[in-house]
């Protein structure tokens, strides 16, 4: 489902409401005005009837009635022979001799008594002007309603935009929040209490997060440090033990111990390194040529690669030059190469150095861990390895800390690791 911005959602509700109001109000208004007008006209007709009745009391002859008719073209008075005639008001359309058009009229048909004699009175009022007027009034009303509503919408939209701005700022900053590098989010201030409360809560939360992260980091570092000395004691005693002319059985035990110790030492070193990558000790950078560095480091792996009958091929497409910390770059490239040797099911490793990236690939079985978890700590694809399980985590951490991109892909039976500069 497509998600709508909060601001647009409120505006949309307003908009729908406005349209409904506009659509209902305009005909209703027209209808009301129309009714009021007809009532007015009807009253005018009845008033006219009363007026005629009063005025006619003094008129004696039929001819005098005729004069009235001649003066007022809208009134007809004729002799009436029946009795018991009620007032009736109705619409008709008649030909207007002045305008030469068929026009709508409101007509009062009634019986009045002049000198004890009944007469039929028919009075009419043209509705042409009134209809024009009603239309004009309704139209004006509709326009002003329209202007009012659009005005409200625009004001609301702009106001909301301004009011919600701190909220969106906070949201942006939260999205970019990285517990490893940010102590303060520097959230912008808002005049809205709820947003201020929100910012306050977020500030507290992130600060707590950061402190927890520091604590954990410090703990890892301390724990690894504290282990160095007992490890050193253990390793040295083991070496001394080896000097004592052990029997073959004893030697075997010592060999296992030496192997385990060596792994422990490497694991501990890797943990220490992981906790120290973002420390200032790795801040110095120098210019380096990645092609040359790759050749240099590959030579260190030659023995091991040859032992597994793996050929390392380097394809230097570009003279990739970067400013980077020498120690970290060494570790990054070495870890990726040693990973490629370790998880190689074929007989080659291909390293490509291009304009913007450094890439290493080797044939291998698909990994059992999800590709996005491959850089996590201790995610050995297969068990039974004596690797520390921290090599790729360290590589990822180096890239994250220094702003490089690193990506893993599996295609056509090969593992690809690419570092983007």
């Amino acid at each position: 489902m497509k998600k709508m911005r909060l601001l647009n959602r409120t505006i949309l509700s307003f908009l729908i409401y406005s349209i409904v109001v506009l659509l209902v109000a305009t005909p209703l208004f027209y209808f009301l005005i129309d009714r009021i007008f007809i009532k007015e006209v009807d009253e005018a007709l009845l008033t006219q009837k009363k007026e005629i009745q009063i005025r006619m009391q003094n008129k004696k002859s039929e001819s005098e009635l005729k004069d009235w008719e001649d003066l007022d073209g809208e009134v007809r008075i004729s002799a009436y022979n029946g009795s018991g005639f009620a007032d009736s008001i109705y619409y008709i359309t008649q030909y207007d001799s002045v305008r030469k058009e068929v026009e709508p009229y409101r007509v009062l048909s009634t019986v009045i008594t002049i000198n004890q004699k009944p007469y039929k009175l028919v009075a009419r009022i043209s509705m042409v002007e009134s209809e024009d007027l009603i239309e004009a009034v309704a139209f004006t009303q509709a326009i002003s309603l329209f202007i009012l509503l659009t005005g409200l919408l625009i004001i609301n939209w702009r106001l909301s935009k301004r009011i919600w701005k701190p909220f969106y700022d906070t949201l942006e900053k939260l999205k970019k929040f990285d517990v490893e590098s940010t102590l303060h989010l520097n959230l912008s201030h808002s005049s809205v209490k709820e947003f201020e409360d929100l910012n306050f809560a977020i500030n507290q939360l992130t600060e707590r997060d950061y402190k927890a992260y520091l604590n954990q980091k410090e703990f890892t570092e301390n724990a690894a440090h504290e282990m160095q000395t007992p490890l050193a004691v253990f390793q040295s005693k083991l070496e001394l033990l080896m000097q004592t002319n052990p029997s073959e059985d004893q030697a075997k035990l010592m060999e296992s111990l030496a192997d385990a110790t060596s792994r422990l030492v490497r694991l501990n070193r890797a943990l220490l390194l992981l906790s120290k990558i973002d420390s200032p000790q790795f801040i110095d950078t120098e210019a380096m040529n990645l092609g040359e560095l790759t050749v240099k480091l590959t030579n260190l792996f030659r023995q091991e690669a040859e032992g597994k009958e793996i050929q390392i091929k380097i394809d230097t497409k570009s003279n990739l030059q970067v400013d980077f910390n020498a120690a970290l770059m060494d570790i990054l490239i070495s870890n990726l190469i040693s990973n490629s040797i370790r998880h190689n099911s074929g007989d080659d490793i291909q390293i490509t150095i291009a304009m913007r990236y450094w890439e290493i690939s080797n044939p291998g079985e698909p990994v059992s861990v999800p590709p996005d978890k491959i850089f996590n700590r201790f995610q050995n694809g297969r068990s039974g390895h004596s690797s520390t399980g921290l090599g790729l985590a360290i590589a990822k951490k180096i890239c994250d800390t220094t702003g490089l991109g690193i990506r893993y892909e599996y295609r056509a039976g090969r593992h690809f690791f690419s570092v983007y500069f």
């Binding site: 070496e239 000790q281 040693s338």
Partner: protein, 224 residues
């Protein structure tokens, strides 16, 4: 040769002394800042092994004191901190080497030897063992008059073995020595085996005696 070991971890100090005394050195041990400071100003040493974190003071201050007194002793810092900052600072003040804990005694032995060799013979770079002659600068080796064609790592291996002669050296110690500082590069040290094999072959071709002995699964020993 006199070595002063400044180390507050008693067990580790004992191991180091035990190992080094078995070679040609005499070792004295102190475990805190003040007794170290006293020893340094009273006696002459060829080499001082210096721990950085000490009861009573900082190892680097001891190093400063030493340099102020213009003592000739070479200094190897042994530290559990493995911090680049300490390393750089230590080397700037005038330490000759930096070895992070935990280390192999064989590695320490080789470093002490190299340091004393540099200081003792005014940079003379010849190492001799029986009829074997190694030139450190040019990285060439001769057996008698017969020149041996060694690769760089075979040369390093031979030098490492000679530096720890008469000791059993574990595969791990050799592997870490050959692969340098941050040795998370290798899962196992099987490649040592082929190195040793090649080296033995080249030694035999040059007419040298069989000095390298395999000690069960443990490692190797270089002896007459």
């Amino acid at each position: 040769m006199k070595i002063l070991l400044v180390e507050d971890e008693k067990e580790l100090a004992e191991s180091i002394v035990h190992y080094l005394e078995g070679t040609d050195y005499r070792c004295e041990v102190v475990s805190d800042f003040h007794s170290a400071s006293e020893k340094i100003s009273l006696y002459q040493y060829d080499c001082i092994l210096l721990d950085i974190t000490l009861p009573g003071g900082h190892g680097l201050d001891l190093l400063r004191e030493l340099k102020k007194q213009k003592k000739k002793a070479g200094v190897i810092i042994i530290s559990a901190k493995n911090s680049v900052k300490d390393k750089i600072e230590g080397l700037e003040i005038g330490a000759d080497d930096y070895l992070p804990k935990p280390f192999h005694l064989a590695e320490l032995g080789a470093r002490v030897k190299a340091l004393i060799r540099r200081n003792q013979f005014d940079g003379a770079s010849i190492v001799q063992f029986d009829e074997l002659v190694l030139d450190i600068d040019s990285k060439t080796a001769k057996a008698g008059n017969q020149k041996m064609d060694l690769t760089k790592s075979e040369f390093e291996l031979l030098l490492f073995l000679i530096s720890n002669k008469n000791k059993v050296i574990s595969k791990e110690a050799i592997g870490e020595h050959l692969s340098g500082d941050d040795a998370d590069r290798f899962d196992n040290y099987d490649f040592i085996y082929s190195h040793i094999k090649n080296l033995k072959k080249k030694l035999a071709e040059a007419g040298s005696a069989e000095y390298i002995k395999t000690v069960y699964g443990l490692g190797y020993k270089f002896e007459l």
